[in-house]
């Protein structure tokens, strides 16, 4: 009887520890750790100038070496707290992108237009440059 009681108590303590630990993970995950949304992005360097106004991806079309192209992203904070937004890029496009603003705060329901410019160098080889822009956001 005593052995069973001890076993139950240990199990209960074990469950309690798991409960507290995971509860804390949950709280930290939601409140402290950042979330990320991504937008695919691409441009082409060729002899032509070309538009690709895809509304689901940030496509810059085609530019000549030494050219540049800009498009805007609108970001809206629909949450009821201030968030801080950081943008970064991945892929072989990442060294050819400039954001008009980075590491900024959005108030609840605030919208902001961010212009993303893709550029190429004079001596850049023809080809496709692709990747994604990560929009990382967390509570202030």
């Amino acid at each position: 009887m005593l052995k069973r009681k001890t076993k139950n108590s240990l199990l209960n303590i074990f469950l309690l520890v798991i409960f507290i630990t995971l509860g804390l993970i949950l709280i930290v995950s939601f409140i402290l750790l950042p979330n990320t949304q991504s937008v695919k992005t691409s441009f082409m360097v060729s002899e032509k100038v070309g538009f690709d106004l895809n509304k689901n991806e940030l496509t810059f079309g085609s530019m000549q070496p030494g050219g540049s192209a800009s498009r805007a992203l609108t970001l809206e904070n629909t949450f009821n707290r201030e968030i801080i937004i950081t943008l970064n890029a991945e892929g072989n496009i990442k060294d050819y992108l400039i954001a008009s603003e980075n590491d900024f705060i959005l108030k609840p329901n605030e919208k902001k237009n961010i212009t993303i410019t893709a550029f190429s160098y004079k001596n850049q080889s023809y080809g496709n440059y692709t990747g994604k822009i990560n929009i990382i956001f967390k509570y202030v």
Binding site: F19, V49, F51, L53, A69, A72, E76
Partner: protein
Amino acid sequence: MDKIKKRQDIWQLTAYFAIIIIIISLFVVGIKLTGHVVNSVINVSIEQRAYINFTFDEINFGPGSITPGNSNATIDTLGNVINGNWTPVFEGFTVENLGNVNVSLDLKTNQNAASFLGGQNPSYLYNVTNFESGSCIFGTINFGEWYDVNTTEDGTRICSIFQPSDSQDTIRVDVRLVIPADASLGIKSDIFTAIGTAV
């Protein structure tokens, strides 16, 4: 006996609650690991407009001078060289609609004739033609006619509906310069900006 049962019920309830928390936590951790956000707190929308810059020195006339005795020389990307010794250039810019939506097209430059060339009565002109027949179905200027460049923010609307279909999606922009004999010396370069907006 009741006391023990009650205590057991509390622990059982705690256990069930812990299991629920475990499931939610694993779900949250899964979201973090995959980057898949279920409950987004920001809306991201992509503007259906693009500004593409291209440099005018891409059409490289190279060095040249005005034939002595003339007040100006005219050169363009249609191969014309009048009163000068520049190498004829036969290629203008081509602009293509690579996407799958109709686009309106505006054109502007950074400089006008005076700032670009200097001197008395300079001209800095462009003309637009369909490189592929029917590419622009609602032109807002006369295609094939020369116009002064426009340095205003919005530029000049050159086409209201620029089509995306593969065989009808390319226009050509040619440039003409009238260079006065007293134009400023040096290498000239300017930036054209084509502004495409989905319609």
